[in-house]
């Protein structure tokens, strides 16, 4: 037999095609599927959140807020109770026993926990200039309770975790929760805007006017961050929130009067 030296023809073992194109198709497909899944899961989570009894929510909340129980603050509680007293008689929020806790860290933030707990950071208290401004922040958090936002978010993230377990071949990947996290943030901007307008209404009931409502966002807008920075943030750009509130104030004909300045030195005073 004669041996003829010859190279094999072509690269049969390598598939043809541009890998970038393949990547674009796959990423596009993944995002589409996840978006659909997210909307579907969000719908289910929303239904559950809306129909979960307050009792069950309080039970969940007790697990989460256990760490804050000893940080109650008499002054803040009074503020919150004032707002609760201004709620309309048929408000579903009367089913809750609201408690407020002070966190010593310098962050300018506040958040709502399931079951009627609100945590306020010391940094926020040092930033706000008036009682009305503080109440606007608290009313905003109450708005989250009214819309059951925290339950919806919890429900969705739970379903996302379950969903990522069910998807085959993805035990090792963390692309999924990562993209979901980004989607979640866009969604939460809507919730924040809704809580803003709900809070504004409550502030008007409490004081008879909405003076100080926009102060906090004016302060935040002054930090000079661009709109792009807020594209994937959990909260909308403060300027957008400010404009939305101003529009609401005009549309509803709310009065804007003098605000009540904060009492100095009360932050240190603790409830017994």
């Amino acid at each position: 037999m004669k041996f003829t030296a010859k190279l094999a023809d072509g690269d049969v073992n390598i598939s043809k095609g541009n890998p970038l194109k393949e990547a674009a198709w796959l990423v596009g497909g993944l995002i589409t599927i996840l978006a659909l899944l997210y909307i579907g899961l969000g719908f289910v989570a929303g239904l559950v959140a809306m129909h979960l009894p307050v009792k069950a929510e309080v039970w969940i909340g007790r697990k989460i807020s256990a760490g804050f129980q000893d940080r109650s603050n008499h002054y803040l509680q009074q503020h919150l109770d004032g707002l609760i007293g201004a709620l309309p008689a048929d408000s579903p929020l009367h089913a809750y026993t609201f408690r407020i806790f002070l966190d010593e860290s310098e962050k300018v933030n506040a958040f709502a926990l399931p079951g009627g707990s609100i945590v306020v950071f010391k940094g926020l208290l040092q930033t706000v200039g008036s009682e009305n401004e503080l109440d606007m922040v608290l009313a905003h958090e109450l708005g989250h309770f009214a819309h059951r936002d925290h339950l919806q978010a919890m429900g969705r993230s739970l379903l996302v975790v379950v969903g990522s377990w069910l998807l085959p071949g993805d035990q090792s990947s963390d692309i999924l929760p990562w993209i979901m996290g980004k989607l979640e943030r866009r969604y939460s901007q809507k919730q924040e805007a809704a809580a803003d307008s709900w809070g504004l209404d409550l502030l008007n009931r409490r004081y008879g006017h909405v003076g100080g409502a926009t102060d906090f966002f004016k302060r935040l807008a002054g930090n000079g961050k661009t709109h792009l920075a807020y594209f994937l943030a959990t909260h909308p750009h403060p300027e957008d929130r400010l404009h939305r509130l101003e529009t609401l104030i005009r549309q509803n004909g709310y009065a804007v009067r003098e605000t009540i300045p904060l009492k100095k030195g009360w932050i240190e005073k603790r409830a017994e």
């Binding site: 041996f3 190279l7 690269d11 393949e22 993944l30 993805d170 990947s173």
Partner: protein, 159 residues
């Protein structure tokens, strides 16, 4: 613009890694294939066959084991593409070229070894492939493929 990068640093870092992975991976692959094709042409005269015996033992002057092995690593982009393939199924194209390169490089190295021994041909040629770092799809894990080519180099009696 700066704030966008600050707030989405994970996204930005990810994109940078993808671009770095793609560019460096593509350059390395292109160069490697150019080198493989050149050397394949140079060594085309040395036959490599899978038959186990030469025609007659009396023809053989000398024989010995020759081996060549090559380890090729994935890059960030290829891994990302393969991860997506893990979800959707189908041919993992991004890994195909890696295995192909590893195999051909291993054969070339084996041939080089045989040439050094002045062999006339390689018989009983075998090829093995193994994965190094099997959890390569997990973060911070390195994945590579090793190809090992081996056979018996044979020098024939002249005339």
């Amino acid at each position: 613009m700066k704030d966008f990068f600050m707030n989405n640093s994970d996204l930005v870092i990810f994109m940078v890694l993808i671009v770095v992975g793609y560019v460096s991976g593509a350059i390395a692959e292109k160069r490697h294939y150019a080198s493989i094709k050149k050397r394949e042409q140079e060594m085309v005269e040395l036959p490599v066959v899978t038959i186990r015996n030469v025609h007659s033992d009396s023809d053989v002057q000398e024989s010995g084991l020759v081996m060549g092995s090559a380890v090729i690593s994935i890059d960030y982009f290829k891994r990302f593409l393969a991860e997506l393939r893990n979800l959707f199924g189908g041919r993992v194209r991004s890994y195909e070229s890696l295995v192909d390169r590893a195999r051909r490089e291993a054969i070339l190295r084996m041939k080089q070894e045989a040439q050094r021994k002045h062999a006339d041909l390689i018989i009983n040629f075998r090829l093995e492939t193994s994965a190094i770092g099997k959890s390569a799809n997990r973060k911070r894990h390195i994945g590579s493929v090793e190809a090992l080519a081996y056979g018996t180099a044979v020098s024939l009696r002249n005339g």
